[in-house]
């Protein structure tokens, strides 16, 4: 088993710099990196095939190379807002190995000629802010942060910044808006953050897990990283397996591992001896799939081909006692609650969907409402200001597509309970 991110993760006191250095060759990558030019480092990350682990899966090195030329200062914003339902991998990294992230951020900053980095953590991660602040202080004390790092002339400050409860701030432009002290509403793109990001300056926004993969790449070479995984999906991925499994947890897998293995081998199979009914492979924003597709390899391309996405790497498992409409309603409530309200289709559509799904669950639904739901989704998809609107329709559309009988059952029960003609 290849462990890059979770290597020795449960070592006691790994959060302290000393233990981190002893256990994991901590901060050893810096020397190697500083021997290279920033551009060489960017090329190295490109060659590794590392892709953004936050959800979009955009090639990391390429993202770095898009920074507006010769515009300074530049910023790094680490996305530690982890708020995609089903996802809890970054929390484990932050909680257990903060120095790995700091090391990754130093490497990224050196490669991108950045002198200020922020870690935007969701407000609920209050406990880990303290932990992270302590780790940052240790790194300053050791000369890994601050002025003239290791005599290279390279300066870097890293700060934590706490959110305050808004899912949308996980979207990179909303994260920057929030970091600037505004309502966390997404911004128009273009310009992309690489051109006009934080404070209007070129900015790299990377997820915790993405940045945590960088030290390995620098230390062991791009090839070592690229050797793991599939042809196009390189490296390892943390997958949060939750729901109806015996051993829910975060597992680090080489990309391309069959999904069914994640459920059966890693997470100990379906609980209570039940059968797998459905799974959402990449967090609540991606379409769910039926059990029949469980052998799909867990990588970007294969999941895309199967009609869904890898997303943030959150595998939510539902057994055959589940009526998926109930879960669709749960997520509809979530998206209604988290819609920022800026754009009309998302603000109005998420609420309307919630109203209809509530009726269906409450056995007040009408057969034509299923079609209406589909059409509302069509009117929202790719027409909203930001991807939240697209995300909101994914569970609804896919649940209707794969499990129409779950809807029919709830609506049919209406017919059986009420005399014909009463409606």
């Amino acid at each position: 088993m290849t462990e890059i991110l979770f290597k020795a993760i449960d070592t006691p006191n790994l959060t302290s710099l000393d233990v981190y250095e002893k256990t994991l060759d901590g901060y050893q990558s810096l020397k190697k990196a500083f021997e290279k030019t920033p551009d060489e480092l960017v090329e190295m990350v490109k060659a590794s095939g590392l892709r953004g682990r936050g959800g979009a899966g955009f090639p990391t090195g390429l993202k770095w190379s898009f920074l507006a030329k010769d515009v300074f200062p530049r910023y790094l914003a680490c996305n530690a807002d982890e708020s995609e339902p089903g996802t809890c991998k970054d929390r484990e990294l932050l909680m257990k190995n903060p120095h790995l992230l700091i090391e990754g951020m130093i490497l990224c900053s050196y490669a991108c000629q950045i002198e200020t980095g922020y870690i935007y953590m969701r407000g609920e991660f209050w406990e880990y802010e303290e932990l992270m602040d302590t780790a940052i202080e240790e790194a300053y004390a050791k000369g890994y942060l601050g002025k003239n790092i290791m005599g290279t002339g390279f300066n870097l400050d890293i700060y934590t910044h706490m959110g305050a409860g808004a899912y949308i701030c996980g979207e990179e432009s909303a994260l920057l808006t929030s970091l600037e002290g505004y309502r966390g509403e997404p911004r128009l793109k273009p310009p992309f953050p690489a051109v006009e990001g934080l404070y209007g300056k070129p900015t790299v926004v990377n997820n915790v897990e993405t940045l945590c993969a960088i030290p390995f790449i620098v230390l062991n070479g791009a090839e070592a990283y690229a050797a793991i995984g599939t042809e196009k999906s390189k490296g390892t991925k943390l997958v949060s397996v939750s729901g109806h499994v015996n051993k829910p947890g975060n597992y680090e897998i080489p990309l391309g591992t069959p999904t069914i293995d994640l459920i059966e081998k890693y997470a100990g199979g379906i609980r209570n001896g039940n059968k797998l009914k459905a799974f959402i492979p990449g967090g609540s924003s991606v379409p769910m799939l039926p059990a029949s597709k469980a052998d799909v390899p867990y990588d970007y391309e294969s999941l895309m081909e199967a009609g869904t996405m890898l997303g943030s790497g959150a595998l939510i498992v539902m057994d055959d006692t589940t009526n998926v409409v109930s879960e669709a309603l749960c997520l509809a409530h979530f998206y209604m609650h988290e819609s920022c309200g800026k754009c009309t289709p998302c603000r109005e559509g998420t609420r309307w969907m919630y109203q209809i799904l509530s009726d269906i669950i409450g056995r007040k639904g009408k057969p034509e409402q299923v079609e209406l739901l589909n059409d509302i989704c069509d009117n929202m998809a790719f027409k909203c200001f930001c991807p939240l609107g697209d995300a909101a329709v994914a569970p609804v559309v896919s649940s209707i597509q794969y499990f129409p009988e779950d809807y029919e059952e709830l609506i049919a029960s209406l017919k059986s309970e009420q005399p014909v003609g009463a409606h």
């Binding site: 128009l188 289709p345 603000r347």
Partner: protein, 818 residues
């Protein structure tokens, strides 16, 4: 190779039509140029792209998803489609979402008939809704302020109003609260939204969520008679539409003219027209307190004037006009006094000023194309509100830098790269110092002791002026003391001579047509078109051999001559010297000594009470003619209401006729034409030429007076500065005004060090005395002026603050007692 990238235009195709537009244009605006309507709600060209309502989705070739045309900048060769099946479905979908929680109370909605939501639904919407649930329950018709009503159910959260508050007003007073479908437009802690420009949100609201409380349920929009007119309050002369029904003013709305108002009006323009229906109007002519026919009143004026001229000569008669009159009325009056009385005792102001500029007269648009604005003694926020918005735009969005030189703190300081605060009354010394520095000389060793400003600061100002490519100087002559205006013009001349800098100026006297009054020669020492008395040949050529050439008395001199008995008769037009002239109540006594006082005004005033003959003036709303704004732009003010009373020029013409004028102008246009013929600079000002967006009058010759050396008299007490206030409780904004909530208490602003010395504290009720008068005021320790000064905002006529000022003195002192 690629010529397209080297030009400033972009060519694209929209629905098969080829469109060429300037680079940077958004697709929505590009489509308009070929009459393709892409529906919008949130987009407003003055607010820029936002993209939240999603109404303007279009398909663009090579783009995988539909995109919003309001956020999409045109690209060379771009192919846009606005009428495909996909687009139509999206439009129907978005409208269905928009209408989900919007009540269909159009029959009782004030926006009905002029509602973008109605119109877009009519053109692009679904025939029906599939919504089965009750609307989200929100507050109906609650006050957002005393003048604006908000209907939260109708709000579609387009954020136009909140973005206006943020981007245009720069106040962030109106914001979005909460998120998701719970979001709503709000103010802090639900306090009233009562800024100076709040009413514009009514005009830009694309639904009936924000409505004009005064207008609610008083008329349907389609029943209004709308006239394109101008605001008659400040000297910006914003364009506006007056909506009337059955000859009663119902509402005022914006009528965008980018060259003047940039599409906005202030709240005084919107709600300051109640005087058109006020009980306090001078409804009919009066003679010795008795209502008479207008002909009788005019005859009385003529008979009395003739008698006085016969007995005491033409110079025993005078005319005090004002910048509130139209060009045609002012022109007629000065002509009457020069041609038929034979005197130059003609004036319209109480401060020193001379016509023309030694540099280019900049228009309002130049403010935002300048690299540097130098704002001198001007408080646009209170005096010329639309200029305030223009300056904020220039500084915040156009990259203009601003320097403020003032004796008092203003809201403009926040936007200034440099604020220079000089002692009250030291403007002449400061400007002399600046002139010296601009000429490369020393500002003088006593600059700092005289003005409170270090010479290094003036060096910085001069450096910025010298290094900026285009400099716009904006100054308020009415706020300068003594003859400081002459020094200012010397400064302008010096700056105008700088090799690397293009310098222009905007004389920003606050009164509606102050510029026109100067141009029309309502001056004791200049004929129309800025022709000085010394230029007798030119005067005789135009005005005949009998044209008087002896310098007349200024307005303030006329008051003093009335007191001394040398002036026997005075015609006061649209002016209230008893309240508005320095000396205030002292003027009352002087006017009481006249044999004849004629007051021609809109509203009953303290001065009108003293008059033997009172003539009604119709004023804005009713009158028609031209005004010249601070940018030198001449525009047409048309009438929106009618009255049986004759127009002001007509009354002048009736008097002139009895005094022997043979031909009377047929109508007001005949006078406009005569002005074009007779007034230098106005040759091109034809009714047809100015109808749409006005026209700049040409250069008026510049003249300048000699600077008197005025030392700041030492003495007891603090130096008085009377400041203008936009919403002053006067005759125009009376107690019944919709804007009464904006009236302020009488306050005196002190520097902390002076307050300390006087032993007064914030909020103390004090008596401010000077010139034999006393004014009650509440203390504000605001450091608004340098130590040694006291700023009293002129908040009402009743406050009587002008009585504290000594007429004819550059500075006045006041003492403050608890």
């Amino acid at each position: 190779m690629d010529t397209a990238t080297q030009t400033d235009t972009v060519t694209l195709t929209i629905d098969g039509k080829t469109v060429t537009v300037p680079k940077g244009t958004v697709v929505v605006d590009a489509a308009k140029t070929v009459d393709i309507e892409i529906p919008v709600f949130c987009y407003h060209e003055k607010l820029g792209p936002f993209g939240c309502c999603r109404m303007c989705l279009v398909e663009v070739e090579k783009m995988p998803k539909m995109t919003t045309a309001c956020t999409l900048t045109v690209g060379e060769g771009m192919v846009v489609k606005t009428n495909t099946e996909k687009v139509e479905k999206a439009q129907k979908g978005v409208l269905e979402f928009t209408l989900l929680n919007h009540p269909l109370d159009c029959p009782v909605c004030d926006k009905g008939g002029e509602c973008p939501l109605q119109d877009n639904t009519f053109k692009f919407g679904p025939p029906d809704t599939r919504m089965d649930y009750n609307r989200f329950n929100r507050d109906k018709a609650t006050p957002l302020s005393p003048v604006i009503t908000i209907d939260r159910e109708r709000c579609i959260a387009c954020q136009r109003c909140t973005r206006y508050s943020d981007i245009i007003e720069k106040d962030q007073a109106l914001v979005m609260r909460n998120r998701g479908f719970q979001n709503r437009v709000s103010t802090f802690n639900d306090q009233p939204y009562d800024t100076r420009f709040s009413g514009n949100v009514i005009d830009i609201c694309p639904v009936g969520a924000l409505t004009n409380t005064d207008f609610r349920f008083t008329a349907r929009s389609w029943d209004l008679t709308n006239s394109s007119t101008l605001c008659g309050h400040c000297a910006c002369n914003c364009n506006m539409t007056l909506g009337a029904r059955l000859n009663e003013m119902k509402r005022i709305t914006t009528r965008p003219n980018d060259l003047v108002d940039d599409g906005w009006i202030c709240d005084k323009a919107r709600w300051g027209y109640d005087f058109t229906k006020s009980k306090n109007r001078i409804a009919q002519p009066r003679k010795q307190g008795q209502v008479v026919a207008i002909q009788d009143a005019c005859s009385e004026v003529v008979v009395s004037l003739k008698k006085i001229v016969e007995a005491h000569g033409p110079n025993s008669v005078g005319f005090i006009g004002s910048g509130y009159g139209l060009n045609e009325d002012l022109y007629s009056y000065q002509k009457l006094f020069r041609e038929h009385i034979g005197t130059n005792n003609i004036d319209h102001k109480t401060y020193v000023d001379t016509p023309g500029l030694p540099v280019t007269h900049f228009d309002l648009l130049d403010v935002e194309t300048s690299d540097l604005v130098v704002l001198i003694a001007s408080d646009p926020t209170e005096e010329l509100p639309i200029l305030d918005l223009r300056l904020k735009k220039a500084v915040e969005r156009q990259g203009t830098e601003m320097i403020v030189l003032n004796d008092q703190q203003t809201l403009m300081d926040k936007y200034a790269a440099l604020s220079v605060r000089y002692n009250i009354g030291s403007d002449g010394a400061l400007l002399a110092g600046l002139n010296a520095v601009l000429q490369g000389q020393s500002a003088g060793s006593d600059l700092e002791s005289a003005t409170g400003v270090a010479s290094s600061q003036l060096q910085l100002v001069a450096e910025k002026i010298k290094t900026a490519g285009k400099v716009c100087v904006i100054y308020n002559p009415a706020a300068l003391t003594g003859s400081a205006i002459h020094t200012l013009k010397q400064c302008l001349a010096t700056a105008g001579g700088l090799a690397e800098t293009a310098v222009g100026a905007i004389p920003a006297a606050p009164v509606t047509n102050a510029m026109g009054a100067m141009d029309m020669g309502v001056l004791p020492d200049c004929y129309p078109g800025g022709v000085p008395l010394s230029n007798s040949d030119a005067i005789k050529a135009k005005w005949g051999d009998t044209a008087p050439l002896e310098k007349g008395w200024s307005a303030l001199e006329m008051i003093e001559k009335a007191r001394s008995g040398e002036l026997k008769a005075l015609v006061v037009y649209r002016s209230n010297p008893v309240v508005d002239f320095p000396g205030g109540r002292n003027v009352e006594e002087a006017l009481g000594k006249l044999d004849l006082l004629v007051v021609h005004d809109i509203m009953e005033t303290e001065t009108a009470k003293l008059a033997q003959v009172v003539l009604p003036s119709n004023g804005p709303g009713f009158d028609e003619g031209t005004t010249t704004n601070i940018g030198g732009r001449v525009q047409l003010r048309t009438k929106g209401l009618t009255t049986d009373n004759p127009a002001d020029w007509k009354i002048v013409s009736m008097i002139a006729k009895e005094l022997g004028q043979e031909t009377a102008p047929k109508d007001v246009h005949a006078i406009t034409a005569e002005i074009a013929e007779k007034v230098g600079g106005y040759q091109e000002i034809k009714r047809s030429a100015i109808r749409k967006e006005g026209k700049n009058r040409a250069v008026v010759p510049s003249s300048n007076g000699a600077t008197a050396s005025e030392e700041i008299a030492t003495g007891d007490g603090l130096i008085l500065r009377i400041a203008d206030v936009l919403f002053s409780h006067d005759k125009i904004l009376d107690a019944e005004s919709n804007l009464a909530h904006q009236f302020q208490p009488s306050t005196v602003h002190l520097h902390a060090s002076d307050a300390n010395g006087l032993g007064v504290q914030e909020g103390d009720e004090v008596s401010v005395s000077g010139n034999g008068h006393e004014v009650k005021a509440e203390v504000r320790i605001s450091n608004r002026c340098n130590p040694g000064g006291a700023v009293l905002p002129k908040v009402s006529d009743e406050q009587d603050v002008m009585s504290l000022a000594e007429a004819g003195k550059a500075i006045s002192r006041v003492t403050i007692k608890k």
